[in-house]
């Protein structure tokens, strides 16, 4: 077994437990809400149409949007709760719809008979309609269950633990073993829970039939046994763990995984109990540090400047630094210090292609840009930096394509695009022999990496002392090489972290 696989499997119990608890809680809440709603809708045409419309609309929202909206509605709260609420909302459509359909499909002659022999409306519902609709309702629950297990992987982005931790980390750090383990685990859980519900349903239906009773008994015992084990595994997660002293967070790309690892190791070595929330979205983690659910993470000045301060100007590296620190102070976020490296956007080309076209700076692109194609990550072409660059140099590209980061580098290396919006500390810049173009008109922002801390954490001198030791300790080259170890050489985060610590010049 490879080190990588062993490292991944060590994470399995925690991820499994988180994923299971999230899924079971959401599906149980979904059933508790949706079945009564379905019953109500079947009885009242006035309720039915709007209700089905609302649950359908929820379903048409991209799941990421629902997650982000729930986080926003909860005032930036991250972790289990927003993921649980979003998954519950998502589970509603199949359950509500199948409940309505199941109840509606109960034969009219049976309902007439129930009424005719003197059953009350409640008895008709409980003793005739619901039991007869049950197979259809259970089918809806099973559909919702499979969806929920799959969607729960996304809850990693709002800081809840799930198999998504494997998948997002794996995708961003090109760790296919992690991606595979996460996907297989998620798929197996979906299939397993689905078969469990199917066997429960089978048992219920066979309850009154005279089938081979010894066999039935065996099956019943095993179904109950497995259910008990699964539920207790999920509930185990509710037992409060020793409370972490600090929560370290990170965004979903290689450098952030390495830096989160560094912050964690430093704090743990000083004897603190640390909890990690990795792979979180930019806006989510920023919100979390403001309200103290996250204690420390690494942010970039240009990010705060453009995204959270919504500034369109570029006062230069120092101007941004001081503006950002001041702004963060107003936001109750402590800037511990700058780590020393910068990870900013730069336009990059294959070195041979640049030579062929005689390009060394963005100015050289002006006469030829209209014939070139450019690729970016998912956001660059939507950022004010790009608009400023376009205006300052008065040029635009013939084609602008957006890619997942890994694919963006492959695209430029494979000559499918001419120019990309590279990250300056990305190891793939060197690996693919890319030339970073100069920016003489200062269009692109500076992105100094800085350590941000929550007010609570910053009030603890020991915590601050540990983190301040990291200020100005990581040169660009060291960070770039650490990223490269993961992104290009396929090493694990652990290996990259070890390398980085060897290169650091700690105070």
């Amino acid at each position: 077994m490879s080190d990588n696989l062993r490292e991944q499997l060590l994470l399995l119990p925690a991820y499994f437990q988180g994923h299971l608890l999230l899924t079971l809680a959401a599906i149980s809440m979904g059933v508790l809400i949706s079945v009564p709603l379905g019953v109500w809708a079947e009885q009242s045409a006035r309720v039915k149409r709007p209700l089905l419309a609302v649950v359908s609309i929820i379903q048409t929202f991209p799941s990421l949007v629902i997650l982000a909206l729930v986080v926003a509605l909860l005032g930036g709260r991250i972790g289990f709760l927003p993921a649980f609420i979003a998954l519950t909302l998502y589970s509603m459509l199949p359950i509500v719809r199948n409940t309505v359909t199941g109840l509606e499909s109960v034969s009219a002659s049976v309902i007439d008979a129930a009424k005719g022999i003197g059953m009350s409306p409640n008895q008709i519902l409980r003793e005739v309609k619901l039991p007869l609709a049950m197979p259809v309702i259970v089918a809806g629950i099973r559909t919702a269950m499979v969806w929920t297990v799959g969607l729960a992987t996304l809850s990693t982005l709002v800081g809840a633990t799930s198999f998504g931790n494997y998948i997002f980390t794996g995708l961003q750090t090109r760790n296919l073993v992690a991606v595979t383990v996460g996907s297989l685990a998620s798929a197996s859980l979906a299939v397993g829970l689905d078969s469990l519900v199917a066997s429960m349903q089978w048992l219920l239906e066979k309850r009154s039939e005279a089938v081979d009773s010894a066999r039935l008994k065996r099956i019943r015992i095993s179904v109950y046994g497995v259910t008990a084990i699964i539920v207790s595994l999920a509930l185990y997660g509710l037992i409060p763990k020793p409370r972490a002293d600090f929560v370290v967070a990170g965004k979903p790309f290689t450098e952030q995984y390495i830096m989160a690892g560094l912050l964690t190791q430093e704090l743990e070595e000083a004897g603190f109990n640390v909890e990690q929330r990795l792979g979180m979205g930019s806006a989510v983690v920023y919100e979390a540090i403001r309200n103290g659910t996250v204690d420390v993470y690494v942010e970039y000045t240009g990010m705060v400047w453009a995204n959270f301060m919504s500034r369109e100007s570029n006062p230069g590296r120092e101007g941004i630094r001081s503006g950002v620190v001041e702004f963060l102070e107003e936001q109750n976020v402590t800037t511990v210090g700058f780590t020393g490296f910068r990870n900013r956007y730069a336009l990059a080309m294959r070195r041979d292609r640049a030579r062929e076209l005689g390009v060394t700076s963005i100015e050289d692109l002006i006469p030829i840009a209209a014939e070139l194609s450019a690729g970016s990550d998912l956001e660059f072409f939507g950022r004010t930096e790009w608009f400023r660059l376009r205006d300052l140099y008065n040029m635009d590209f013939a084609d602008k394509l957006t890619f997942d980061v890994s694919l963006m580098y492959t695209a430029v290396a494979g000559r499918q695009v001419d120019v990309i919006s590279a990250y300056t500390t990305d190891g793939r810049v060197a690996a693919y022999d890319l030339l970073l173009l100069d920016d003489p008109r200062n269009a692109l922002l500076a992105y100094d990496a800085m350590i941000l801390a929550s007010t609570n954490a910053a009030a603890q001198p020991e915590f601050m002392r540990i983190l301040e030791a990291l200020v100005d300790s990581i040169p660009d080259a060291a960070m770039r090489q650490a990223n490269r170890l993961v992104d290009v050489d396929g090493e694990s985060i652990t290996v990259a972290l070890e390398y980085l610590r060897g290169e650091m010049t700690k105070n």
């Binding site: 008979a113 005719g116 022999i117 003197g118 005739v128 009154s208 005279a210």
Partner: protein
């Protein structure tokens, strides 16, 4: 036993009458057939007796009590009902179906069990053999036998039947008709049966009410209707079985 006094039913606020000013008296132990074409108001009349439909005006007495003063569910539990579509509960066993009304009346488990055995014996489907089966494992005729057993389980004095044998094949139908007639006589049941089969009405009913367009045209014993039809429609509808019998006889003579 059952009395309808000037009962009217309209579904459109009085513009048209599904049942128009009907008065009927059904004696204890009597078997009344309600006959007429589809839409003549016979099923509506039947359903008003146990309040599956409410009359727009007039009153209905069962055992000298106005049905409108009674809780509809309680009322229905005390009146047997055999349904056109049989309407057995597919998710329950045969025995559970028969036990449905006694259960609603909260009889003790022992009483329910004993009564189920009795009723199933009565309709010729012994409890030990059929009790645990599911309704779908029975033939149509067997299902309606269970339908009858369910209607009788709580020992009602009154049984309402809505085209109970309509969906059965002719041989099963006539078997069941005869058996039900003898059960009705043994137990002195008061029965109101809706049918559009004149032969069935003539063979089973003590008196027959012929309905057309919401109005009872004539009510009387089979003999009275055959001999003194008060109306052309009554004469035609009553004569139908006899005409068919004559036609059969002719066919046989020509062979």
């Amino acid at each position: 036993m059952i009395e309808l006094k000037n009962v009217q039913k309209s579904y459109d606020g009085g513009a048209t009458l599904a049942v128009a000013d009907t008065s009927l008296t059904i004696e204890r132990g009597e078997f009344l057939g309600l006959i007429g074409a589809s839409g003549c108001g016979k099923t509506t009349t039947l359903k008003m007796i146990n309040r599956l439909e409410e009359p727009s005006s007039g009153e209905i007495l069962v055992n000298n009590c106005n049905v409108i003063d009674q809780n509809p569910e309680q009322l229905r539990r005390n009146i047997g009902y055999v349904f056109q579509g049989i309407g057995l509960f597919p998710h329950r066993t045969v025995a559970e179906n028969v036990a449905a009304v006694p259960q609603l009346l909260q009889w003790s488990a022992g009483d329910i069990h004993a009564r189920c055995e009795e009723c199933m014996e009565m309709v010729g489907l012994p409890f030990d053999e059929y009790g645990e089966r599911s309704p779908s494992q029975l033939s149509g005729g067997q299902q309606q036998r269970i339908g009858v057993a369910r209607a009788l389980a709580a020992r009602p004095e009154v049984v309402l039947m809505d085209e109970p044998f309509g969906a059965l094949d002719p041989i099963t139908r006539s078997e069941l008709q005869e058996e039900f007639k003898s059960i009705q006589q043994n137990m002195a049941l008061t029965v109101v049966m809706v049918t559009h089969d004149m032969t069935e009405a003539l063979l089973l009913a003590d008196r027959i009410a012929v309905m057309r367009e919401g109005v009872v045209l004539q009510i009387g014993t089979p003999k009275e209707l055959l001999n003194n039809p008060s109306h052309d429609y009554v004469r035609d509808i009553v004569a139908m079985p006899r005409r068919r019998a004559q036609r059969l006889e002719e066919l046989m003579r020509n062979e």
